[in-house]
């Protein structure tokens, strides 16, 4: 789960990691009061969205007066911000931070994440702050310092010390820096993070260490034990169809395409998306109904697929294990009756209660195309697309 920069900075403060003076606002009217907490001009306005590249999208602006601050914030708030990382739909800006501008002497990268292969927490640091970590790793790997955490002793002060001396900073900053490194680690394990990143961690001309930016991702699997973090979720930053799906415990991700698919199992769902592309079409979504799906969940899932106006064909690919084919069939038939579906539907069923499922479709009196295997299903999907007014060759993949 992602949280906003301003929320991450609040967490930083509770762990004694210094951040710039500033305040978050939700309307331009709050700006004059907020400026009092931010300090003297120039100040910086930062749009709060769950995506990077805000500067490139015009979401970060320096302002020099109250009037300018009010004017710029009214242009940003309640509007959509487009950055290289938001996708073409952009992200709504509902929160804005107004902050002091720091006098930067040096920028450091400091991040904590998980190493899947070593199965440990790992700390990354670099004197090349301000750049994307992937770029540092690719262009100047010798400038990337890595420290792995042994679970039996945690991140030790001697390791924080080692990180510090890899950065080439003035030795007088050693204590402050070690403190920040160890506190960031404590935050990481306390809150079950998957990523905790300060990029850049600024050394100011005055000799202070301040987290200019803050990025925290929390392990979704751990949210049950962090209701405080879970309450920070901003549904406005998520796709509305995806939010709707999650209300029914459906795992749905919207893509851009013309074949809506419903599958049981994440691996099979990805493979189904790949198969759709393989036959020259484009998957409109990822949808895993899971093993415990009820007929009602199946109906709701179909409704969500159908609310995507780009969808021209529906492909249902089910290998029933825990999910039974008759449960699936009942849900689809119910949805078809409720929604008066006009789109071609190709259904491929296999596994538990498959004969019963096929029988339910046959007796429904509705028009479905039932396929015998995945290959057969894919060919039928391609056929169905040709039959409509939407040409296969016009699809952007």
């Amino acid at each position: 789960m992602k949280i906003h920069e301003f929320q991450a900075k609040q967490l930083f403060n509770s762990y004694n990691i210094p951040t710039p003076k500033g305040q978050v606002v939700t309307s331009a009217e709050e700006i004059p009061q907020a400026i009092k907490n931010a300090g003297t001009f120039p100040l910086v306005l930062k749009a709060q969205v769950h995506a990077g590249g805000r500067g490139k999208g015009g979401g970060i602006k320096i302002v020099n007066s109250v009037e300018e601050a009010v004017h710029v914030s009214s242009k940003l708030l309640r509007k959509t911000l487009f950055t290289p990382q938001t996708g073409e739909e952009g992200k709504p800006v509902n929160h804005l931070v107004i902050e002091e501008v720091l006098h930067v002497a040096k920028e450091i990268y400091l991040g904590i994440t998980l190493d899947r292969i070593k199965a440990c927490i790992t700390v990354l640091a670099s004197s090349e702050g301000g750049m994307e970590i992937e770029k540092i790793a690719a262009d100047s790997p010798e400038k990337l310092f890595i420290e792995n955490v042994d679970p039996s002793i945690g991140l030790r002060p001697f390791q924080a010390n080692r990180i510090f001396f890899s950065l080439g900073l003035d030795p007088s900053l050693s204590r402050k820096m070690s403190g920040i490194i160890l506190n960031l680690y404590r935050l990481f394990i306390d809150k079950d993070c998957s990523l905790a990143e300060i990029n850049p961690l600024v050394v100011t001309e005055g000799g202070d260490l301040i987290a200019l930016d803050a990025k925290i991702n929390v392990d979704d699997n751990a949210l049950y034990r962090h209701p405080d973090i879970a309450s920070l979720r901003d549904l406005g930053q998520e796709n509305s169809l995806e939010v709707q799906a999650s209300r029914y415990n459906l795992n749905y991700i919207k893509l851009k395409g013309n074949v809506g698919c419903m599958v049981n199992g994440a691996g099979l769902a990805m493979a189904t998306m790949d198969l759709i592309k393989h036959v020259g079409a484009a998957p409109a979504n990822f949808l895993d109904v899971g093993g415990g799906a009820t007929s009602q969940m199946v109906t709701e899932g179909l409704k969500i697929l159908l609310s995507d106006s780009d969808v021209k064909v529906i492909f249902i690919n089910i290998f029933g294990g825990i999910l039974r084919c008759d449960v699936l069939a009942k849900g689809v038939v119910e949805a078809a009756r409720q929604l008066d579906i006009k789109l071609p539907m190709i259904i491929r069923l296999e596994g538990t209660n498959v004969e019963l499922g096929r029988q339910i479709f046959a007796e429904s009196g509705l028009t479905f195309t039932v396929a015998s295997g995945m290959g057969d299903a894919a060919e039928k999907v391609a056929e169905a697309l040709k039959g409509g007014s939407y040409e296969v060759t016009n699809i952007r993949s």
Binding site: R116, G267, L268, M270, G375
Partner: protein, 292 residues
């Protein structure tokens, strides 16, 4: 032959009296798995379908000589259940649970470093040696005894592959679900070594997906040490970066773990890649024919 589980495997089910545990214990028993005990704290000295239930794994092992454990325990308690089974000396722990916090699994992996237990999962459908032993939730009837080893991060996609093989008369030695999580027990490389040394496995199928570098590690291992052929399918060519595709471990992050790179790496190592999931069974057959 098969690897890890066979006719001599004696299983204890942790969480046997819960909804999932109860249902799947019955399915496993029906398949022919030797379920010798169950563990539900507080229900010790009860019986489940004639199977003795114990309060602790240690008590179950002492009484029954169980050498494998199936864990059907909810996420907040599952890591602890794994630790308990390892501490009690169980040889193979299969953790079905999806949703265990990753930091908990780091603790588990660290604890297991110097122990003799192997962990399969978590977030796995389990392991099956057709005709011998099934520990998990997969439908037994789609499997057939044979000589293809299968290693997969997926559940239903594995059933799809097994079904394609069985329908073509090609059976499986052992099918192992290593699970969809980022931090797991046995990885591809651990199982490739076992399959390479199993006299009854002739070829291996790898079912991979986006996220992490496990498939790349498998390619390295294959190049250096293996003589038996591998056929692989990697799901997620169409997955967008930065999104978790269902499985906690299925995410392309920091530019690492995309399907195209995995496919290129595996192909360069000499592994046969299947482009369409509908053709996996057919490809395995043609690869075995080539090798004969």
């Amino acid at each position: 032959m098969s690897i890890i589980v066979d006719k001599h495997t004696r299983v204890v089910v942790q969480g046997i009296t819960g909804n999932e545990g109860a249902f799947h214990t019955r399915q496993m028993v029906e398949y022919g798995t030797d379920v010798v005990g169950g563990v539900t704290p507080g229900k010790g000295s009860q019986k489940f379908d004639g199977i003795p239930v114990f309060n602790t794994v240690k008590a179950a092992v002492d009484a029954t000589g169980a050498n494998a454990s199936a864990i059907f325990v909810p996420p907040p308690f599952a890591a602890d259940a794994i630790l308990e089974a390892v501490e009690a000396g169980i040889g193979a722990v299969i953790c079905l649970t999806e949703g265990i916090p990753t930091i908990d699994m780091i603790t588990v992996r660290h604890y297991m470093k110097d122990k003799n237990t192997v962990l399969i999962g978590p977030n796995t459908p389990g392991i099956i040696s057709p005709g011998k032993c099934k520990i998990g939730v997969m439908a037994g009837y789609i499997h057939k005894e044979g000589s293809i080893g299968i290693i997969s991060r997926s559940g239903t996609l594995t059933y799809e592959v097994v079904d394609q093989l069985t329908k073509r008369g090609v059976g499986q030695s052992t099918c192992v679900g290593i699970g969809g999580d980022p931090v797991i027990g046995l990885k591809y490389v651990d199982l490739l070594e076992m399959f390479e040394n199993d006299k009854d496995t002739d070829a291996v199928v790898i079912i991979g997906e986006i996220g992490g570098q496990a498939e790349e590690q498998a390619a390295e291992y294959f190049k250096k040490y293996m003589k038996k052929p591998i056929v692989a399918f990697i799901a997620g060519v169409t997955a967008p970066p930065g999104r978790r595709m269902g499985h906690a471990g299925a995410i392309v992050s920091g530019g690492v773990g995309d399907a195209a790179t995995k496919i290129k790496t595996l192909e360069a190592a000499g592994i046969t890649i299947v482009k369409s999931p509908a053709e996996i069974g057919q490809t395995v057959i043609s690869v075995i024919r080539r090798c004969k």
